[in-house]
């Protein structure tokens, strides 16, 4: 058989949709566990947990490989999906004057392409809002904890503000701003001796908190868009999860009911958990 069949045959295209789709489902779980760091702990502890997690995600080689597989999966799933949809439209040049598809199929199953397109738009804006800023453009402020060292009024010493930088060694490092320089955005070097003193964490926790806060004038808009997108994702998964198994030929009366149940539970719980997090941030 020709090699191109692996990409071109109708069934092979569906295998790719199923495989990339299921991989992206596992990605959702990983992403959700990360997001939960935003709300499981509060205050400095929560900020530290999330920023350390974000640093780990950006520096672990396995995570880096996985993230590239994720980018490729998203692109492949979308491009393949558009191609399939285009072919499917072509397969029926003339539509029915009167059609009653509600009698034989579920709503999400018939609108996978539209639901998927909305999810894609969400992913693009989501990456522009967070991924692009964190990785490429903006200088994200480092994780700094301000403390006030009490002075001695008897001796005429006022209270002194100090900035403690959280470093990757796990310690807070006091820094005199005029004695250090920052390299590669996060590395802290002694100005005089050009010695690396430590590496700070990008304070992505604060970026997220500000993004979805009431102080952000567009915070509510972002919040609504996020929650609606998660609703759309839920519908997409409602059909997609179990559908992927069917496409891969995994079907048996013993385990298909379990797959269907897990698929629907996944479709409800995962987007719900995602959506609750920015709502909690906004409501603080």
């Amino acid at each position: 058989m020709s090699k191109s069949a692996i990409l071109k045959s109708s069934i092979a295209k569906k295998y790719w949709m199923a495989l990339t789709g299921l991989f992206l489902c596992t990605f959702l779980i990983g992403h959700l566990l990360g997001n939960l760091q935003l709300v499981l702990k509060t205050g400095e502890e929560g900020r530290r947990a999330f920023n350390e997690y974000a640093y780990f995600m950006g520096h672990n080689i396995f995570i880096k490989i996985l993230s590239w597989v994720t980018y490729i999966s998203i692109i492949f799933h979308a491009v393949d999906g558009f191609m399939l949809t285009f072919q499917n439209k072509k397969a029926r040049p003339q539509n029915y004057a009167y059609n009653n598809p509600g009698a034989n199929s579920s709503l999400p199953s018939r609108y996978m392409a539209i639901l998927g397109t909305v999810v894609l738009v969400f992913i693009v804006t989501h990456m522009a809002n967070f991924w692009w800023k964190a990785k490429v453009t903006e200088d994200i402020p480092l994780h700094v904890k301000e403390i006030v060292v009490p002075g001695n009024p008897m001796m005429g010493q006022p209270d002194q503000k100090m900035e403690l930088y959280l470093t990757t060694s796990g310690n807070y490092m006091p820094i005199q701003k005029d004695q250090v320089v920052f390299k590669n955005k996060t590395e802290i070097y002694d100005k005089t001796f050009d010695i690396k003193m430590g590496e700070g964490y990008k304070d992505l926790h604060t970026v997220v908190m500000k993004f979805f806060s009431k102080e952000n004038e567009l915070g509510l808009v972002y919040l609504i868009f996020y929650v609606v997108s998660m609703g759309v994702l839920a519908f997409h998964l409602w059909h997609g999860f179990a559908s992927a198994f069917q496409t891969l030929g995994v079907r048996h009366k013993r385990y298909t009911p379990a797959i269907n149940f897990i698929g629907k539970a996944f479709a409800l719980l995962v987007p719900l958990a995602f959506a609750v997090i920015p709502v909690m941030i906004y409501m603080r």
Partner: protein, 254 residues
């Protein structure tokens, strides 16, 4: 029991020939017995049209007992009408209300071009069947009785269920993608499940799917509409089996 009659309005697709531009035409038909089948109702309408010296409506039919797979028709937005597990010839007019407007259209698919009115060309199914829907038999004079090979009950039943497909095309008509996966999977399954079908198993599924794609059918998105509308209740299990067979063949065929 006295037969009840109803009066109905019909909106029917009329198209002079394959190249003509068709349109939905409205007809009124009175005194339709609720005991008559949908095709008998169309016969009655055609009689009325002939008496009015108008061209009768062309539609496919043959055995009129649900076994030949000739009748089609997309009735009120569903293949073979609103009833389940029946062909159009087995659909009775008691399923419709007095005064109801009934839409009748041909199967819509690029691979099923309209020949005239409600008649479509389903020879694309024949070509898929020719591409692999057969088994090799020994013709040297000592042909073995098929029943001489023991076959497990579960496999025999599933193969038989798949073989009940009459190739009417309701799956294609119902599918939002005009996909022929249910038909092809039934034809692949009925042989893949049996020892007689093992010889050509790999080439069969590859060739039939290739032909299916070349005919211009759409891709399966697992909506399940086909299995719901199928007059023979062919299961989606067959599509999953074909997907398995195809994967196996794709990675191992020479």
């Amino acid at each position: 029991m006295a037969s009840k009659t109803i009066n109905i309005n019909l909106k029917i697709w009329r198209q002079k020939n394959a190249n003509a531009k068709g349109s939905m035409e409205t007809y009124k038909l009175d005194n339709v017995s609720t005991d008559s089948s949908f095709l008998e109702m169309l016969d009655q309408l055609n009689e009325q049209l002939v008496n009015e010296r108008k061209e009768p409506i062309a539609f496919d039919h043959d055995c009129r007992e649900g076994i030949c797979g000739m009748c089609s028709l997309y009735i009120n937005g569903e293949a073979h009408g609103p009833d389940r597990a029946v062909t159009t010839c087995q659909l009775h007019m008691r399923k419709f209300k007095d005064g109801e407007t009934i839409y009748v259209e041909p199967w819509r698919a690029k691979a099923f071009p309209v020949i005239k009115d409600l008649v479509v060309d389903r020879s694309s199914f024949d070509r898929i069947q020719q591409a692999g829907g057969f088994v090799s038999v020994n013709t040297s004079g000592n042909t073995i009785d098929a029943n001489a090979i023991p076959i497990g009950k579960a496999d025999a039943d599933k193969a038989f269920e798949a073989a009940t497909c009459i190739g009417c095309g309701a799956c294609v008509a119902s599918c939002k993608n005009a996909s022929a996966m249910l038909f092809v999977s039934a034809k692949v399954s009925q042989m893949a499940l049996l020892p007689q079908g093992k010889v050509e198993a790999k080439q069969r599924v590859l060739n039939m799917v290739k032909q299916m794609d070349e005919e211009g059918f759409g891709n399966c998105t697992n909506t399940g509409a086909c299995a719901v509308e199928c007059p023979k209740e062919i299961s989606l299990e067959n599509i999953a089996r074909m997907n398995r067979e195809y994967l196996k063949a794709m990675v191992t065929a020479e």
